[in-house]
Structures are given as C-alpha cells and as structure tokens.
C-alpha cells in the first residue's frame, strides 16, 4: 500500500455547514493551555518553555492566548514567573494577539498592570462547595474579591472576563442549578466584566444541558455575545457540547493546546477540550479559524514531550509525525 495515501488529512477536506448556522459565522477561540493547562503541573517548567509555548501558539494562528496568572506563587508555584513570561511575549500584543491574564485580587492586579497586562480575567465559582475548597471562603466572599479587580481594570479601559467554574455540576453538590449560574454570571457582568466564561470544570455537561443553561442565561437578560463556553473532555462530550453551544448562538470557546490541563478535583478526569479537536470541528462546519493545525499539533507535541506524556487530543495524535514518541 502506498504509505503516502494512508497519511491522515491534516484538516477537514470537505467542510459543510450546520443547519441554522449563518454563512460567515466567526468564532473566537480563547487558548488556555499556557495558564489553565500548565497550572496543575507539579513539575515547574522554566519560563523559556512557557514563552516558547505562547509564541508557538501565536505562530500557529491563535489570536487570544491566556498567558499566565498573577496569583500568589504560594498558591500556584508553576506560575511564579508571571511577570517574566508576560514581559517576554509583550511584542505579540503589539501584533494583535490578546494576552489575558488571570488576576485573583487587587494585589494581583497591581502586579499584572506593572508587568504590562492589557486584558484581565477574574475567577469565581458557581457553587459554594468549590468556592470554599478553592478559596477557603464563601461565594459572596469570592465575588467580593473579584469585584474591585473587575471595576479597576474596567476603569483602566481593559477588557475583563469573568470565569465561572462548575457551571454544570461539581463533585460535592452534583448538578448545578442553571438559574443560579445565570445569576452569578449577571453579577460578574454587573461588577465590570465584559464577558463571562461558563466552565464545565469536571466535564459533566452534555449537549442538552448546554442548551438548558444557555436558555437560563438568556432568560436572565444576558446576551450570548457576552458568553464563552469552557468544556472538559472527561466523558468525551466536549466537541459535541461545542456544537450545542454554537447552534444555540455562542461564538466564543475556550480550549487548550493538546488538551493540556485537567481538574485537580476529579482524579480520573481528562483535560480541557483540545484546541486541535475544536479547530477540526469548526473548520469542518466551514468556520475559518485561521489556525494552522499541523503547526499547532507540533506545539502540543513539543509540550507533551516536556511534560512526559502524550497529548490527549485525538487530532494531535492523528497528526503526530509517524514514530513520534508522544503519539
């Protein structure tokens, strides 16, 4: 058999739109591998690795790359180099790449602004249990911590995004009430966020639940242009959930190169939706993402090599060079 013929295609060969999807639909991908993906890694990577990762992602065509987090290094030692990393990629910002950074509190915002941050994220929870376990305070306390950050960044004219974790369920409380998620999302927007990212932190969402939550969000008066979706692939549903979100009208999706990252609270959970798998889906339904998939798969393979394990992305595996050690 001709080996060349058995090489899998490197992008969907024959795109076809979905019923109900407008021609010319644009989607924004928020690449979260360098922050959300790396932060759970125990082995501390050198700043040069993170800088190379962010540059590689930008070179592969990604235009919104979460760069780092200005949390206390005591909480997340992996990202203690936030200033160094952000400064080293500042030129990408000048080339039109948005580089949001996560900021937990006012001290973090000072550090972020001093390091040149031009896009801010705050992080909250849809459940009391996760709030207590992640921040050791109740949800009101978490929101009170985020509010001055959002207000100050907004006053500085910076875009501010509010992350909401555990939007479909959490490991302690089970399913999350959609109206509750919508209410907290509305609070985030009221305190100064421009947009919210609804996170399925443990990967329990399925397509019907995506429609249901987005219905509750719309009922709360939130426009879907302010909403992003952040799925985990724990149960293999992430791409299907993106389809549901896209059909419901969402145009922003978070993903992580190679599927890096996971949920520290669900031991066997696999990671974030892989950017490669998301791009494959979007290109397949005729949405031009501007992402060079083989280039992105190389970036993921390089990082997987550094982390010592294969990237969980199906597309990254399919596109890996034959004989690669990270297949």
């Amino acid at each position: 058999m001709d080996p060349a013929a058995t090489q899998p295609p490197s992008r969907p060969a024959d795109p076809a739109s979905l019923p109900g999807l407008e021609a010319g639909t644009r989607v924004r991908i928020v690449e979260v591998g360098a922050r959300d993906g790396l932060q759970i890694e125990r082995e501390i990577l050198p700043p040069a690795s993170k800088i190379a990762l962010i540059r590689g992602l930008a070179d592969a065509g990604l235009r919104c790359i979460e760069a780092t987090s200005f949390v206390s290094p005591r909480w997340v030692p992996q990202l203690a180099d936030a200033e160094e990393v952000l400064r080293a990629v500042a030129d990408l910002g000048e080339r039109g790449v948005e580089l949001p950074v996560l900021v937990p509190n006012e001290r973090g915002l000072e550090r972020a602004l001093a390091a040149g941050a031009r896009s801010i994220e705050v992080f909250t929870s849809a459940t009391e249990s996760f709030a207590m376990r992640n921040w050791n305070r109740d949800l009101a306390g978490v929101l009170a911590m985020a509010a001055p950050v959002a207000a100050a960044a907004r006053a500085d004219g910076l875009p501010v995004r509010g992350y909401l974790s555990m939007c479909w369920g959490d490991p302690w409380e089970g399913p999350t009430e959609p109206a509750r998620v919508a209410g907290i999302a509305a609070e985030l927007l009221a305190m100064g966020c421009d947009s919210v990212s609804l996170g399925d932190t443990i990967g329990v969402a399925t397509a019907g639940g995506v429609h249901r939550l987005l219905g509750a969000v719309t009922d709360a008066g939130i426009g879907l242009e302010q909403v992003g979706l952040h799925f985990h692939d724990t149960y293999g549903q992430a791409v299907s959930n993106v389809q549901a979100g896209l059909l419901a009208g969402v145009r922003t999706f978070d993903s992580s190169a190679g599927g890096m990252g996971g949920c520290p609270y669900a031991e066997s959970a696999t990671g974030n939706l892989a950017t490669e798998d998301l791009v494959w889906f979007l290109e397949g339904v005729g949405i031009d993402t501007g992402v060079d998939l083989p280039a992105l798969a190389r970036v993921s393979a390089e990082m997987a090599g550094q982390l010592g394990r294969p990237a969980p992305s199906a597309v990254a595996r399919a596109l890996a060079p034959h004989g690669s050690t990270v297949r």
Copy 2:
C-alpha cells in the same frame, strides 16, 4: 478532601433534551466490538474470551451485538472460530438479543445459517479504491458478491443489514460524493437489505458533513429509519457526529465497547466510537439506553487488559476503578 466526593459520576446526573428532539425518542445501538473491534487484532483471542465479551455486553444491557464474521479464516484468522462463538451465545438470541453476523459471500451464508445465525450483514464500499484494496475487485463486483447473500437471507426471513465503508472519504480518493453514497445505499436496499450502516471508516466526518450526506440519502428516497451511522473517533468528532445524526432524524448508531477497533488503512487512526461515550451522550440528552455504564466499562476494561492496552473511551477511562492498570 473527601475521596468519595471526587469519584466521577457513573452516568449523566441531570439529563436535558435537545431542541427539536421528540420526547420518548428511542435509539438503537449496534454494538460492534466483538466483530469489527476484534477483527484487526493480530493476536488471536481464544473463543472463550469472545464468548465472555458477548455475554458481558448482553449483561450490560446491549440488545444488538455483532457477534462474529463468516469470512474465510484465511482473510481474518481472528474470527476463524465463528461457528463456535455463535453457537455458544445462541441462548442470548432466545433472550431477545439480536446477534448479527457478517457474511461476505454465499459460502459464508451457508456456514452462518448452519451455525444458527438469525441476522445477517453484508459489507460493501462507497469507493472503488477501498473495494479494490479490501476485496481485490471493483465496486460492481463487491455488490454482485453481496447481492445473492442479501436476497437469500431475506428470502429466509432474516433481517439483513448492508455496511457501506468510506462514506465521507477514503485515504486514496479524498472526500466521497454524497450522492454516490446514497446511490449505493439504495442499491443495497434494492438487493434485499432492510437497513444500511453508513460508515466513516477513517473518521473524517464532521457534523455538517453528516447533515449533508443524510440530505443526499433522503433525496434518494431512503427513509432515515433504514439508516444507521457508524463513526470513528480519529479526530475526536464521533460524539458530535452522533448529535448531528440524531438531530437529522437517525435513530441507529454503531459503536464498540471501549472504542475497540480501528482502521487498518490509517495508521494513526483511533478506533470506533466507544459505546460508553455514545451511551453517555444519549443518556445525557434524556434517551434511556438500558445500558449499565459501570458494567459496560468493566467489560471494556477486561478486554483492554487482554489486548494489553487501555481502552480509548473517555468514559471507560473516567469510570475505571482507581489504580486500574488499564486507565
């Protein structure tokens, strides 16, 4: 942290239907692991392993289990024990489990009927290239081989299913023309098949392409109640493609326990859609499958152990016992 709380849920906790999906929708799952999944394995499993697999699948609630293939043992040595396996699970047939078997030609049909087969499958291709490589004859020749099998089985009152491979693309010809697939599907129905299974053998379908092909099938006068879909997860799109098929009106989906199987013509391709991931999706959108997911995941883990590698199913991994060697 309470370890019990971090155990992932074993089924979707909070089902929600999809817009446009009728209440009470039923779906038929055709479990293909014991035939389609195993046939590419080089190491020959003993009949007892296959019998235990089929029994385990039935005990987990699957009601249509592809049991074996009556191809020549020279072509597929793995399934040389077809008679023994089928006879050993015949009691399941009496308990309402359908046990289709693949039959390539009239000699195979004689063997299948002598062994007690009550449900027959014939296998064809949507492309000339795959026909030539898999059967060393052109597509007309492949259809001519299947036709007397379908007619004879139909005359005996047995259900006959026609498999069509490479329906969205093949490694040599690229994308497959939807009208061509629909035309061959119509030929299969005309020759005596009750239903057809449209296979994405190399996993290149995306959701829009599923709608497009089903549109062509409908345009050819084929009712979707006669159509099943058979996806591979090479690019992580299989569950999303099921969603598209379900929304378009298809009610039969093929899948393989643990995602066993693959395509021998695409070296880095991952396997069939995992039954666990399919069931998770269906239960998530409120469709009762009757499948006991933890029981199914145990069956897949047992087989993965015998095959010496982890099951590619996300759900199977998530549900694997902690410390399991096949995670």
